[in-house]
Symmetry: C2
Subunit: 207 residues, 2 copies
């Protein structure tokens, strides 16, 4: 299967614009998060830091090491999101001719919806984690790259918020109340953390 | 020259993450804007609208026709941004051995900085224009695509804000006060319009 990492940007945009159900917002959010993470990594790799001190460079290196796997993870989540939503569509198409089939279909839809909720929750978690490193990048990154750090933080915040919207819309259809409550609580916690880290990092950009 | 539309998503991410000065935040903002625009186009193309009325479908078709060229424009601006910033870097590298060379270099830097300001201003303008159509998409789009519309609006708002950050950082180095004032005023106007349109559209998503 061709992954989104392997298609051209033009093909990705055309796929997002096409009326087919996937790829949709969940994939878009994951790729936007990967773009934001990539721009943070860029700032950590510049020859100069804000004041060129060893402490600054160590902080940027540490952020760089933490961010690299998150970039890969978000790229994978772009595909996982489309796959999980394809699973929901497939479950809805199952036969419902008999009571047994109806029950099996309902169970398949519920399982697929849980998957389609867990993936954007993971995207939200990964964006929130990337944003925990954004402050170090904003504070210690070279001043001429301030706008790159700003774009990065804005994209990660938008990606986190978009991932949360995808969690919520799929959560609406889930009947397992304990899954619903636990996932809703976790999504709210991660959204608040992502927003707080983004706001803190933004304050350090022009500082 | 290979355009960003032609590279794979993976190559785009690696280019954004690399410490070379381009592509940077301006390119990232333009591509994020193109992704948001693509997701709005997707919602306009769904077989069903919110209440399946003719008026709704006409409004979505009208938005779709307006959004299609903006998607292409933002893809082009991703390249124009990298090119304009390469121009700034090239101007800084010009010889400054004599007074004549120094003067020519200063003039070249100033011209290049104006170009590197005009491009993100155009990205900001295009995202603001896409956001003027977001309300119709949010209001009339099919309810199950609400999260797609939400991601689209979030990405366009982040792209507009990121483009504005790139306008401001390049504007800082410009000496022509009348260009600086006119561009600053236009960027502030477009940023306010983009934020207002995004907020209005978001209100209509769950309505």
């Amino acid at each position: 299967m061709v992954t989104f990492a392997e298609v051209t940007v033009s093909q990705l945009l055309d796929a997002l614009a096409s009326p087919s159900p996937t790829p949709g917002g969940g994939t878009g959010a994951a790729i936007a998060g990967a773009m934001g993470t990539s721009l943070l990594i860029m700032v950590t790799g510049l020859a100069k830091s804000r004041h060129n001190t060893d402490d600054e460079k160590a902080a940027l290196t540490s952020a760089r090491e933490a961010l690299a796997p998150l970039k890969s993870r978000l790229t994978e989540l772009a595909d996982a999101d489309a796959r999980s939503f394809d699973g929901v569509m497939a479950a809805f198409k199952l036969s419902k001719a008999s009571d047994e089939e109806k029950a099996a279909r309902t169970q398949a839809i519920q399982a697929a919806l849980q998957g389609a909720t867990t993936v954007p929750l993971d995207t939200l978690r990964t964006c929130a984690e990337a944003l925990t490193h954004a402050r170090a990048v904003a504070e210690h990154g070279n001043r001429p790259a301030a706008s790159d750090a700003g774009v990065a933080i804005g994209l990660l915040a938008a990606a986190a918020s978009g991932a949360n919207a995808n969690v919520q819309i799929n959560l609406d259809g889930i009947k397992d109340e304990s899954f619903k409550a636990a996932t809703g609580t976790e999504a709210a916690r991660l959204s608040a953390a992502a927003a707080a880290h983004a706001a803190t990092a933004m304050q350090h950009i022009s500082g």
